[in-house]
Subunit: 221 residues, 2 copies
Amino acid sequence: MKQVIGVIGGTGKLGAALARRWLQAGLQVQIGSRDVSKAADVAGKLNAELGTSAGFGSNAEVADGSDLIVVTVPFAAQAATLEDIRQQVQGKIVVDTTVPLMPPKVMRVQLPPEGSAALKAQQVLGEGVRLVSAFHSVAAHRLATDEQIRCDVMVFGDDKAARAEVVKLADAARLRGIHAGALVNSVAAEALTSILIFVNKTYTVDGAGIEFTGELTAPAE
Amino acid sequence: MKQVIGVIGGTGKLGAALARRWLQAGLQVQIGSRDVSKAADVAGKLNAELGTSAGFGSNAEVADGSDLIVVTVPFAAQAATLEDIRQQVQGKIVVDTTVPLMPPKVMRVQLPPEGSAALKAQQVLGEGVRLVSAFHSVAAHRLATDEQIRCDVMVFGDDKAARAEVVKLADAARLRGIHAGALVNSVAAEALTSILIFVNKTYTVDGAGIEFTGELTAPAE
């Protein structure tokens, strides 16, 4: 049976854009939201545009019915959202995309007491989850288009096999997934988001990203 | 009179490589070291190779005789080195390049209690110094060559004019300096170093770097 990807907070900019790209790549996707009617709306629009069959439901329903769960909510909603799905995601791969931006000073790195949003997610979900952290640096409004985006996706996680799955998911979204080490390393990518916002403003660019230089082909086994 | 750049810990790989590129660009450089004979040796070799007139001295002497001070020492030596030059650098621009790598786990981000090496430097040097943080991501052994390196230099600092000077210094070293915001943002570049080391090992590359994507030309004023 085909793997089902559940996008929690899938009605937000990042979630909907990832879902769209994964649907385009032929993956099976479900859209979750606190507001089921919004989830239905987003899934309906994606299916109408792409001729796909994305499902939808509440966050907990989607987490329950999915094999791999991607959480795309603002930092302020992270803890409550993870609490909502904690039971349903035990034993599964969960991809946390949360960036600890604390408005209004979003150009300033402000890390949570846990050290990073990824470590906070680990605390909430517990050790029974195969937690991976990724998709911090990509500009959602550009991801929502069909353009080829020049932005690498750093993928962090202590479970190497789970991390490899998420590197593939980045590739499926027509980005480049990069193995970037342990979950604790996620702080680098999370903090980088404030720098990208600063760079966008300072250099008047729209959605700056980062790329690794060097011949990064297949990882050594 | 020409601005004098003092490289503290200038006998190390990063310091010597930066000094060499700045001398090649026609800048006035002094090499500082705890061990004056080592500093003399490095300055002598650079001068013999390049036909320049780099000076040398103890770290405190070089800090005293320079207008802009660049500190390039390992994390374990950072605090003691900064204490050594604290008096001499008051009122001057100090560029801290320290990355909080804590061997043996250098592929794992480990941040100091102060939050970052840059914030630790600020605590040691006090508010009377125009502190800038930069040059974290570049591989020293590649910087030591004449090659064109594809690696952007994120430059952090709360003093915008000081930051702009250091962006120019990165450019003078034939890198690309990028305004990256407040000093507190330095944690992103510092943490990224562990990820670059991880990427080098995982993908078997030599000195991966990062570049910002997008049309980053002149910063908006």
